[in-house]
């Protein structure tokens, strides 16, 4: 399987986006295909992050990724194994991938967790993002702990 990631094309570009999720709003700045600053000004909670990642109504990451969470059955294989995310990526890179992976790969299936859908969105989700900025920070904090030490 090949993934077309066009990080190169983004080098040097700085983009700003506004986040809207319910009443919460946040600004983020993209620098070289990463988001260096915490979205909330606070550190994320890795324990909460793992829960949010598993929750089917929130991250639902297991739909597409294998993760070092043996207590959960049926991990999807649409995306790469996340077991070494913390070794492979910095928090700034992980944040970018959760906020809006389409910045790196416009064709990706992976949802943008902090950008609301634009077309034919079900009413109860209209204008809403899948996660809140704090949810994203928590998941980023959790992912940075994944260094491949877990084996099945």
């Amino acid at each position: 399987m090949t993934y077309r990631i066009i990080v190169g094309a983004l080098t040097g570009i700085v983009v700003s986006g506004a986040l809207v999720t319910g009443t919460m709003a946040a600004d983020y700045k993209i620098v070289d295909g990463t988001i260096p600053q915490s979205l909330t000004g606070k550190a994320g909670d890795p324990v909460q992050g793992k829960k949010t990642a598993v929750n089917r109504k929130k991250g639902n990451c297991l739909a597409c990724h294998v993760m070092p969470i043996p207590e959960e059955q049926f991990h999807g294989e649409v995306g790469p194994d996340l077991g070494e995310s913390g070794s492979n990526y910095s928090a700034a890179e992980l944040r970018m991938r959760l906020v809006d992976p389409k910045v790196l790969n416009p064709d990706t299936i992976m949802p943008a967790f902090l950008v609301p859908g634009k077309t034919a969105v079900l009413k109860k989700f209209a204008g809403k993002t899948i996660l809140s900025p704090q949810d994203v920070e928590d998941i980023v904090a959790y992912l940075t702990t994944l260094k491949g030490s877990y084996s099945k």
Binding site: E77, V78, P116, G117, K118, A120, L122, K123, I130
Partner: protein, 260 residues
């Protein structure tokens, strides 16, 4: 024309042909959902007696010769006693209809006969009678290839279906292509993604505990990505059905199938 140049032309032409053949995308038939189903599900489908969808095929078979409506007619009065006149027909649907100036699905065709020829009430799309009749008609073309026309008058409707298929929508902002073109054969949580074809519909879905239409499945896939679903029988879904059946060209009709 000199002889040499003619030979040269022939050689060039042949060479060009080989080149075109080599560059053209492979027109390989896609696979049926059956090919990715677990053996237990395949076994249920393989045996008509264990396939629960046949409860609905039987309903359709009964309705076929039932007189209904003010004209006092049954399907059998116009189309023959046993449904064999339908052989091969359903695999060409949806088709463009000149009177409607749009596509007609098999279900539309059934309701057109009911309301105009039989002077009977139209059936609801997801009713047992409609599902049964659609399954009964589709079963007459079982093991024959799906073969729809997408040119001429059908072209704009095909294009609309294609656009629907490729457009990102819903809160998760995904298109049909993201799951069914990019990742067939890959697990998404507990499911194995398929080419997402309609060749087995109406299908008995174990999750539904009953038979259901292709348009019901569209609604499910739309809602899963938090997108507004359309109504069963809507123009949008009928156009989408045409596009799907074009993708399924050459794949065998296997209605009524069994799926998870």
């Amino acid at each position: 024309m000199k002889k040499t140049s003619l030979i040269k032309q022939i050689v060039m032409f042949a060479g060009f042909g080989v080149l075109v053949a080599a560059c053209a995308p492979k027109e390989e038939a896609l696979k049926s959902g059956y090919d990715w189903a677990i053996p237990e599900t395949q076994a249920m489908q393989d045996d008509d007696f264990s396939n629960p969808a046949f409860m609905w095929v039987d309903i359709g078979n009964d309705e076929w010769s039932k007189t209904d409506g003010e004209a006092g007619k049954s399907c059998a009065d116009c189309h023959g006693a046993d449904g064999s006149s339908m052989k091969g027909k359903s695999n060409m649907y949806p088709v463009y209809n000149k009177d409607d100036k749009k596509l007609r699905s098999i279900q539309d065709e059934v309701n057109n006969c009911r309301t105009n020829r039989m002077k009977a009430k139209a059936w609801k799309w997801e009713s047992d009678q409609m599902l049964g009749m659609a399954a009964f008609i589709r079963t007459q073309s079982r093991d024959m290839p799906i073969n729809v026309a997408v040119d001429g008058d059908a072209a704009p409707f095909f294009e609309a279906g294609k656009e629907f298929y490729e457009t990102r929508r819903g809160g998760l902002d995904m298109a049909c292509t993201h799951c069914h073109v990019d990742f067939p054969g890959v697990k998404i949580r507990a499911n194995v993604l398929t080419n997402g074809l309609g060749n087995g519909f109406p299908t008995y879905r174990l999750k539904w505990q009953k038979i259901g239409s292709l348009h019901r499945r569209f609604r499910g896939c739309n809602k899963n990505i938090r997108a507004q679903p359309f109504k069963q029988g809507s123009d949008e879904y009928t156009n989408l059905e045409l596009y799907l059946n074009h993708r399924a060209k050459g794949v065998m009709n296997e209605s009524p199938s069994v799926r998870n």
